[in-house]
């Protein structure tokens, strides 16, 4: 167990579980619908100064800093 932190701080290669999304209303729902659900495992494949590639549910997504800050993860 480790403390909750934004996805952007997760080092490459680590897998965590999503604990919360602090998006606006539309964004939070959109992310959830794309598979970023509560407790879903998310693995950081690449992390390049804020731009990330993550795998959720076997799908890969590229996301920018703005979103990576809003996704909170725990249980690394």
């Amino acid at each position: 167990m480790c403390k909750v932190m934004p996805l952007i701080m997760v080092p490459e290669g680590k897998e965590c579980r999503i604990s919360d999304i602090h998006g606006g209303r539309g964004l939070t729902r959109h992310l959830t619908e794309m598979g970023f659900t509560y407790h879903a495992p998310v693995k950081v494949l690449r992390s390049e100064k804020g731009s990330l590639i993550v795998a959720v549910n076997g799908c890969k997504y590229a996301l920018s800093k703005g979103i990576a800050m809003k996704i909170m993860v725990g249980e690394c």
């Binding site: 209303r25 959109h30 731009s51």
Partner: protein, 666 residues
């Protein structure tokens, strides 16, 4: 009557092979149009299966049917308003959880759904075991295995579609949201039921669910209804934020209750895609590989295109010669030979160029690489106030700005999209190349290649600085955070590549057939009138217009002929070359034009460089202006694009002319 025709809509997440299935069903019988009111492409096609005509509409790929993006609204409205007989939901068999989410939405909409379990070969290959029977039982939806790329399962799918369409009774599916939420849904449903009009048009439960989720588009549907006020009162009292994600979670809960019983061993594994990604998106290798691929794509474009271009060039030159020698009366021969063949022919020469570039980009896109390129470029794009998604339209701009600007619709944020649209015309499209080739060839000899290349660079620099400028002044703020799916790498097929290429390239063809044809005729008329004047001489109307405009462009070192050529270039930039051919009395023959340019004392290396820069930057061509107007929905921004372009072009040409003059190149 269209009684016997069955209407089918294809729905599904992005990157699940929807287009492949669509192509497999309809083959070449496709029609690309626009959705009413918006410029998002609407693809439909026909198929006769077992003697019954089926009309298939390809809905935009979406993750859900809320109102997050334009695509989602379009897909939803089609299903709600036009009520297709059957909705075929294409599901990626390797990612059931997320895909089934859309199924729950389709079920709530009350549509008759058939699931096409696509890419089932990939799922089989990685050892997933999906129990179709149980899946059908749980979902109460027929499920058919398909492999779109191999056209496997298509007949069975269509059989099922016919069967489903004939079923009269339709079982309504429901997702239970539990306790409190259900009470709210019931209350809303009861009130909505008082409006007969609404009850007839929409499933009330669906309306209630969407209202609880705070869906603005659905709220609009209530406007003017007798129950609007009562509904509003209830909604205002509620904490909608609480419901919004709670309902999404419930849907996933429903899916997760079903999934383990349907699919065993459906878990992710390290794939070849992961390994490729490690190289292609590598910290150090990513950008060099990207640049090498782009260079390769452009190099191949020019190599492949050259023989085709030579052939077209030769054919038109021959045709023009044939017409002017054999056609009577002389004015008609001149109209067809000088005007139409000269004008349109010049444009058609560049078709191989544009089509092959689009083919390359389509292949890169279908392979999954372009999405990675967007990731690689994201950081750079962020520096100029945009993000990775803006990058693909910019790349397409090198082919033709019209489809490029249409491609910006994948950008959700309005300001991000507007900036991407406004800077797109500075990406030097294929139509501007002939101007560079002619002028650089005539005045820069061995350096011609470098000069042409520098124009492309100048365009990119102008685009980047303009983006930065807009972001710091007119459209302040940071680029919206972006998220984009990276589809697994796939071997692109030539067939889909060519279909894609055609969709984009045909916009250019349409332009050649309409705007440019019209432009060519206008140029010819202005150069021929008043009757009896020598074609394109100073005394013609074109000459007179040129003299009126001359003072405006004199500070740039341009004379009246160039002023006229630029004026006509508003229609389409290729016309700059065509009308120079007319005005310098050389017609279609490029060698003759080069010679007369070299012999004209009023045009020389320095101002020809300015002219190239001017052609690059000044107002977007008519077709591009049209698409900017459509996509921004605003005359104000369209006008801004025009004025900004002309102003900047003038300024830069002026600087080239003056600075060059000071340095002694005049």
């Amino acid at each position: 009557m269209k009684d016997k025709r069955i209407r089918v809509a294809l729905a599904g997440n992005p990157n699940v092979g929807k287009t492949t299935i669509f192509n497999a069903i309809t083959g070449a019988r496709q029609h690309v149009g626009n959705w009413p009111g918006v410029t998002v492409e609407r693809k439909s096609g026909r198929k006769v299966h077992k003697g019954i005509a089926i009309e298939v509409v390809d809905l935009p790929g979406t993750y859900s049917l809320t109102a997050y993006s334009l695509d989602e609204v379009i897909a939803r409205d089609y299903i709600v308003d036009e009520r297709p007989d059957v909705v075929v939901h294409i599901v990626d068999a390797t990612n059931l959880e997320r895909n089934l989410y859309l199924t729950t939405q389709l079920m709530e909409l009350g549509a008759k759904v058939v699931i096409a379990l696509n890419m089932s070969d990939l799922a089989d290959a990685r050892g997933d075991v999906i129990d179709l029977k149980r899946m059908e039982e749980f979902l109460e939806i027929p499920v058919i295995k398909t492999v779109g790329s191999k056209e496997f399962g298509i007949d069975e799918l269509l059989d099922e579609v016919l069967r489903e369409a004939e079923k009269g009774e339709h079982h309504e599916h429901e997702i239970g949201y539990g306790g409190e939420v259900e009470e709210e849904i019931n209350e809303l449903e009861n009130i909505l039921g008082d409006d007969e009009e609404l009850s007839k048009r929409y499933p009330l439960r669906w309306l209630s669910v969407k209202l609880l989720e705070g869906d603005k588009e659905v709220q609009k549907k209530l406007e003017g209804s007798q129950v609007e006020d009562r509904i509003k009162k209830i909604l205002d009292k509620m904490d909608k934020e609480k419901y919004e994600t709670a309902m999404v979670d419930k849907r996933y809960e429903a899916i997760n209750a079903v999934l383990p019983q349907v699919c065993s061993r459906c878990v992710e594994k390290v794939t070849a895609s992961d390994l490729i990604d490690r190289v292609l998106t590598n910290k150090y290798l990513g950008i060099p590989i990207f640049l090498a691929l782009m260079w390769g794509a452009f190099e191949l474009t020019f190599t492949f295109a050259t023989p085709f271009m030579d052939f077209i060039d030769f054919s038109f030159a021959w045709l023009a010669g044939f017409v002017s020698e054999n056609l009577e009366p002389a004015w008609l021969a001149s109209l067809i030979g000088d005007g139409i063949i000269g004008g349109v022919g010049f444009v058609l020469i560049f078709i191989p160029n544009i089509f092959i570039l689009f083919l390359m980009l389509s292949l890169l896109e279908d392979s999954g690489y372009l999405a990675r390129a967007a990731f690689i470029m994201d950081r750079l794009m962020y520096k100029i106030g945009l993000h990775g998604k803006s990058f693909i339209p910019m790349l397409m701009g090198f082919g033709c700005n019209v489809p490029a600007i249409m491609a910006t619709r994948s950008i959700e944020d309005k300001n991000d999209r507007l900036i991407t649209i406004l800077i797109n015309p500075f990406m030097s499209c294929g139509a501007r190349l002939p101007v560079y080739v002619l002028l650089a060839g005539a005045f820069f000899g061995k350096e011609a290649g470098t000069v042409v290349f520098s124009m492309y660079v100048l365009g990119m620099v102008v685009a980047i600085l303009s983006a930065k400028l807009f972001r710091t002044t007119l459209l302040k703020g940071k680029p919206a955070p972006f998220i984009m799916e990276l589809p697994p790498y796939r071997l692109p097929t030539l067939k889909t590549g060519i279909i894609h290429m055609w969709e984009r390239g045909s916009m250019y063809l349409k332009k050649a057939g309409t705007v440019i044809l019209l432009g060519a005729i206008i140029v010819w008329l202005l150069a021929s009138l008043p009757w009896g004047v020598e074609y394109g001489a100073e005394k013609s109307i074109a000459g007179m217009i040129g003299h009126v405009l001359e003072p405006l462009v004199a500070p740039l070192g341009f004379d009246w002929k160039i002023a006229v050529a630029l004026l006509f270039g508003f229609l389409a930039k290729e016309i700059v070359v065509g009308s120079m051919g007319v005005l310098y009395g050389a017609g279609e023959d490029e060698t003759a034009l080069t010679e007369s340019l070299q012999n004209d004392p009023n045009i020389y290396p320095l101002n020809s460089l300015g002219l190239m820069a001017f052609t690059l930057i000044y107002m977007p061509c008519l077709a591009t202006v049209g698409v900017i107007r459509k996509e921004t929905g605003s005359w104000k921004w369209t006008l801004f694009a025009i004025v900004y372009g002309i102003g900047l072009a003038w300024l830069i040409s002026f600087m080239i002319f003056r600075v060059g003059g000071v340095l002694g190149y005049g």
